[in-house]
């Protein structure tokens, strides 16, 4: 990797190459899979299958303001506007197949893991059924216990074996277990460096620049099993460490006044507006629950550990974990506040949000605010309401700072 190129440039290049290569592969007759964002991609990478991630693609279309046509198409075809907007964008895209904001190839099969939510099961089933293509499902039952129970680990591990059989059948190729070990190894290392880089945001001032996290996330979603993904996070960590050593904060023209985390998915169609309003109030968004979501780490010869890791995503874990995780983040990152995105699309995240907020506030006393929005549907967001809530959060944080000895 050329050391004169910034990680941001590498990131942008990697993402456009990711989509370009997938389109080319499809043209030359290679198999393409559509997969959910935290799937055991190791299985696909081992088989050298091109994978695209509809959630990431929907986010891209959302951020480039091209989601409405696809949302409308899905709604015209009978999908309720109460459904997840990633699902609606993707279902609309599967039908229209063309976006000025960027295209993905149509899949030859579907690879779905419900560790992020259960909507994906029906969404992907519908895709598979309409396109008459196979679907592989890794079912990770919700963990009502704090840790992943052993019966779930066994159930998930057996599904890995079953999925390998399905992949061999779809590709007509034998699964290479040595290559699998290599991919598992790279994937774990990439996840470790992702965690390491995102943990550097804890420095004061934070070297993170607002919404960096949401940008770099594309690579941990799409390229976790690849050497270039690993290299990118190493480079990013190096750059961040450099900024920390030089005492550089997020912005050149103003200091970091308040440090917050963002709970939930970004409002992609309003990314610039939501970011600008934070910056205007001196608020730096330095973390979220995402760093831990993709910290999928396990020993490469241990399928049970891999099963446990995939089932451990915070969205698949109980309330005690959900609240405790945020309490720990507040401490580790010395946060002044939390912004909870009450996301119309994501019933799973909204379901326990008020209770998580209550528990976190009780345990940390940190200021917080909930605002209404949506990950990709621009209609479900009011900028004036967002701004009032963020400014009120800033005023609460300011008050608390002033009350502390020395006003820090």
């Amino acid at each position: 990797m050329d050391k004169n190129i910034s990680s941001k440039q590498v990131l942008n290049d990697m993402i456009s190459r990711h989509y370009k290569e997938a389109l080319e592969a499809k043209k030359s007759g290679e198999l393409v899979a559509w997969a959910t964002s935290i799937v055991p991609q190791e299985l696909l990478e081992t088989m050298d299958i091109k994978v695209v991630y509809p959630e990431n693609h929907a986010a891209v279309l959302g951020a480039r303001k091209d989601a409405p046509a696809f949302l409308q198409n899905a709604e015209n075809n009978g999908y309720s506007n109460d459904l997840c907007s990633y699902a609606r964008v993707n279902i609309g895209y599967a039908n229209l197949k063309e976006s000025a904001a960027g295209n993905i190839p149509m899949p030859d099969f579907i690879f779905c893991c419900n560790n992020i939510c259960n909507t994906v099961i029906k969404w992907y089933e519908n895709l598979a059924r309409e396109m008459r293509i196979p679907m592989i499902l890794i079912d990770t039952p919700f963990n009502h216990t704090f840790d992943v129970p052993e019966h779930s680990v066994k159930y998930i591990r057996e599904q890995f074996h079953h999925a390998i059989g399905q992949l061999e059948q779809i590709t007509g190729k034998k699964f290479d277990h040595d290559r699998f070990q290599e991919v598992m190894n790279i994937s774990t290392q990439t996840a470790r460096w992702w965690k390491k880089a995102t943990a550097l945001a804890a420095a004061q001032p934070s070297p993170f620049n607002g919404f960096d996290l949401f940008n770099y996330m594309a690579v941990i979603v799409c390229m976790r099993g690849k050497q270039e993904g690993l290299d990118l996070f190493k480079l990013w960590a190096e750059e961040l460490q450099g900024k920390i050593d030089r005492g550089e904060g997020p912005w050149k023209d103003q200091p970091e006044k308040y440090r917050v985390m963002w709970d939930g998915i970004a409002c992609w169609p309003h990314l610039a507006d939501t970011s600008k309003i934070l910056r205007k109030n001196g608020i730096n968004l330095i973390t979220s629950t995402y760093p831990d979501s993709w910290t999928i780490v396990y020993d490469s010869d241990d399928l049970d550990a891999m099963a446990r890791a995939y089932s451990s995503n915070y969205a698949n874990r109980n309330l005690a974990y959900g609240a405790g995780n945020i309490v720990q983040i507040v401490k580790d990152f010395s946060l002044d506040g939390i912004i909870y995105h009450s996301n119309r699309s994501c019933k799973l995240m909204d379901f326990r949000q008020y209770e998580v907020q209550r528990q976190v506030q009780e345990q940390t006393g940190v200021a917080s605010v909930i605002f209404d929005g949506d990950q990709t549907d621009p209609r479900a967001f009011s900028l004036a309401q967002y701004e009032t809530r963020i400014q009120a959060l800033m005023e609460m944080m300011e008050q608390r700072k002033n009350e502390r000895p020395g006003g820090q």
Partner: protein, 259 residues
């Protein structure tokens, strides 16, 4: 002298105080952001105080229209200003319920009267003054008379739609099936009360519960809300100007910090 201006979606309020925290001038105009309302309110408050604009040392603007009003020295959100104003008027206040033209909020205060947490209505008019305006229009009565109309209710009517537009057609259909206007008026109050009580339950309604904002003038809503939350509600004197009082108090505080 210190000026607080509260520009809401349907009304503009201005308050002038002196360094001894006495209110010298106050005004309310029933037109809000994007109108001449803010200018008129400030002009009327200055006249009542008997001073000229030059004598204002510092001014703070709050409310929905705060971003577009460029004549104030500082802008602060209505959440912080209502909390400050309510705590100033009633120091024992721990919960402030403010129902304005297009939003409803419940603010929890700590023992020093500072904002501890708050919750606002989702992006819809349910549980707000606008909902009551729509209901008043269908019932062919002024917003000010909605409360007295509801006093003569004889039967409970439930308005089940939270969407203001759907509630409008629901009420029209009830009226056409012979429902009494008085009962519908009471049903409208109850609908707002349920919605706001729901917001309040999320963050806990610690006593004393104080109500501010224009809708606090509607006794029917206050009574319905007291019933819903099972607690007494103290309505502040001149509830409409509490946000502006809070803004004026911040103007005074900011000016003394600067000097």
């Amino acid at each position: 002298m210190f000026l607080g201006i509260d520009i809401g979606s349907s009304s503009s309020k201005a308050v002038i105080i002196n360094a001894q925290l006495e209110i010298l001038g106050k005004a309310v105009f029933n037109t809000g952001a994007g109108t001449q309302g803010p200018e008129k309110a400030v002009g009327a408050a200055l006249r009542e105080a008997g001073i000229s604009g030059d004598e204002i040392k510092f001014s703070v603007v709050t409310g929905y229209g705060r971003m577009t009003y460029d004549k104030a020295d500082k802008q602060i959100t209505e959440i912080t200003c209502h909390a400050r104003g309510a705590a100033h008027m009633i120091p024992s206040a721990r919960t402030v319920i403010d129902i304005g033209g297009q939003d409803a909020k419940v603010i929890r205060l700590d023992k020093d009267g500072k904002v501890e947490n708050f919750v606002m209505n989702e992006k819809c008019a349910a549980g707000t003054g606008r909902f009551l305006e729509v209901m008043a229009r269908i019932l062919d009565c002024s917003i000010g008379n909605l409360s007295s109309l509801s006093e003569n209710a004889s039967e409970e009517i439930i308005i089940s739609n939270t969407c203001t537009v759907f509630a409008e057609s629901e009420v029209i259909s009830q009226l056409s099936s012979g429902a009494k206007r008085e009962n519908v008026a009471q049903g409208a109050h109850k609908s707002v009360a349920k919605r706001v009580a729901g917001l309040g339950s999320r963050i806990g309604l610690a006593p004393d519960v104080v109500m501010t904002g224009g809708v606090a003038l509607n006794k029917g809503v206050v009574a319905a809300l007291e019933k819903e939350i099972g607690q007494k509600i103290t309505v502040v004197e001149n509830p409409q100007i509490i946000g502006a009082i809070g803004a004026a108090l911040y103007a005074l505080e900011t000016a003394s910090k600067l000097s």
